[in-house]
């Protein structure tokens, strides 16, 4: 989990409003290469909005974001090029419903990266093996469990060879017994040095796998620090209250 000094993502004073409601009220942070950042906070706080602003699935109103030296928010940036370098994992998987697991992973390689079929297939099979699903390559999403679908969606993102992975509550739609297999894949990724931002309610994962934790509420970062600080010695009373409530809801931070 060696974190280098190289900055992969820089978010500066990000603002987003829906109608009269300001969802993001000036969010700034950086993520270094190899770093795993957890973002925690109550729902409706703007965590998904923040994550989607980073690959501009949602257009921010104000503020700037960089991926390494490229400014994502610049109007001159080819956003489709940027998105190839940022893997996105959705809460509800969003696997392409008409394609097998293999084709889900292969589609971007064929149509976006324009690899020849043989190479794309090899690459896709390699990624499926990486998430432990090589033998399910020919199954359709509806034939896979939620945990398997989410692992395919991680493989789909990894196949594009991203510099950064964004996870938006990747285990929240899963039955409890399926959460472990997905977290395991993510932990392995973090250990292999993938730079990642994970919005999660899995405090155990945030604590044991992530290098930094951001506690967000009502569109602002309330507190940020290494997991030991956030979980054992939070500086802000709101952080303490939230963590207390979470352990009531989810039965402790130990999971």
């Amino acid at each position: 989990m060696a974190v280098s000094s190289k900055i992969i993502v820089r978010v500066e004073d990000l603002h987003k409003r829906y109608g009269s409601e300001e969802i993001l009220k000036g969010v700034s942070f950086t993520v270094r290469q190899g770093e795993a950042l957890a973002i925690i906070g109550p729902s409706g706080t703007g965590k998904s909005t923040l994550l989607r602003c980073i690959n501009r699935l949602t257009e921010p109103d104000r503020g700037r974001i960089w991926l390494e030296e490229t400014e994502i928010t610049s109007p001159h940036t080819d956003i489709n090029k940027i998105r190839q370098q940022i893997g996105f994992v959705f809460q509800d998987f969003n696997l392409f419903a008409h394609l097998t697991a293999l084709d889900n992973v292969r589609l971007g390689l064929l149509k976006v990266k324009k690899l020849p079929k043989k190479e794309a297939t090899e690459r896709a099979m390699h990624e499926l093996a990486r998430v432990g699903l090589a033998e399910h390559a020919q199954k359709y999403p509806a034939q896979l469990s939620g945990g398997q679908q989410q692992r395919v969606s991680i493989a789909r993102a990894l196949a594009m060879d991203p510099k950064l992975m964004l996870f938006d509550e990747p285990t929240s739609a899963l039955d409890p017994e399926l959460i472990g297999e997905v977290l395991q894949v993510m932990q392995k990724l973090a250990e292999e040095g993938m730079t990642m931002i994970v919005v999660t309610h899995e405090m155990g994962f945030a604590r044991s796998v992530c290098d930094q934790v951001i506690f967000m509420e009502k569109g602002v970062i309330v507190e940020q620090g290494p997991p030991e600080q956030i979980f054992t010695n939070p500086q802000q009373p709101r952080t303490r209250q939230f963590l207390g409530k979470i352990s009531e809801l989810y039965g402790g931070a130990g999971r």
């Binding site: 699935l57 998105r83 959705f90 509800d92 971007g108 976006v112």
Partner: protein, 233 residues
């Protein structure tokens, strides 16, 4: 043995003799009906997909134009549309033969109905599919082409099958502008021999057989293209 000789062997004035005598002309008419139906449904398919995309993804202008088109076509009788094209267009020096006019008229008509089926199918696809496609770096058009349309085309097969069968039956109105299809052929034969009931019974039977064959073929296609978890929701 020649067809005429074969018919000679049947009892004079009997139903079988009539059927035998008019069979060659009816087969010719059926072929024209088939051609008319297929070209119209094909034109309607292309137009319908474009109109549906316009209504779902188009900007204000495109949305407005495609919506107005669909409303106009669905809100007016198909006969009026055929007359506009066949008798109306010559006003602008555009003269079409009756079959071409019928193909275009029925095709443009079907496009509006198909557009609504496609729009329903596209809108039944969850928004996450588009997001996921964009997230791996696809352009809007790539996402539509490789993710949205392949799903929509499968979802739409059952209602689309009905549209094909409707178009086949509706193609009979083309006889009014003189397109030499099955209905017109029956009309010409019956107006000469006055055996309306028998002639149109045979015509009806031919339509029925065509409808049954097409339904069966579409069923087979639907089974072949079936993907687990992808049905009309």
């Amino acid at each position: 043995m020649k067809w005429e000789q074969l018919c000679q062997g049947l009892a004079e004035e009997g139903f079988l003799r009539l059927a035998c005598d008019i069979a060659p002309r009816l087969i010719q008419g059926t072929a024209t009906t088939f051609q008319l139906t297929m070209l119209a449904i094909g034109l309607g398919l292309a137009g319908g997909i474009l109109l549906a995309l316009g209504r779902v993804y188009g900007n204000k202008l495109i949305y407005w134009v495609s919506t107005a088109y669909v409303q106009f076509v669905r809100g007016t009788p198909v006969l009026v549309q055929l007359f506009l094209i066949y008798y109306g267009l010559p006003t602008f020096e555009i003269r079409l033969d009756s079959l071409t006019a019928a193909i275009i008229g029925l095709g443009l008509n079907s496009a509006a109905y198909q557009a609504e089926y496609f729009r329903g199918a596209i809108q039944s696809i969850s928004r996450g599919q588009m997001l996921a496609a964009r997230a791996i770096g696809m352009t809007n058009l790539q996402a539509i082409r490789y993710v949205i349309l392949p799903q929509a085309l499968r979802i739409v097969i059952p209602p689309w099958s009905n549209e094909l069968i409707y178009t086949l039956k509706y193609s009979s109105v083309a006889f009014i502008i003189g397109a030499p299809e099955l209905m017109a052929t029956g009309q010409i034969i019956a107006s000469r021999n006055f055996r309306y009931f028998e002639v149109f019974l045979i015509v009806a039977f031919i339509y029925l057989v065509c409808v049954l064959i097409i339904s069966k073929l579409l069923d087979i296609a639907e089974q072949k293209l079936k993907i687990p978890g992808l049905e009309m929701r």
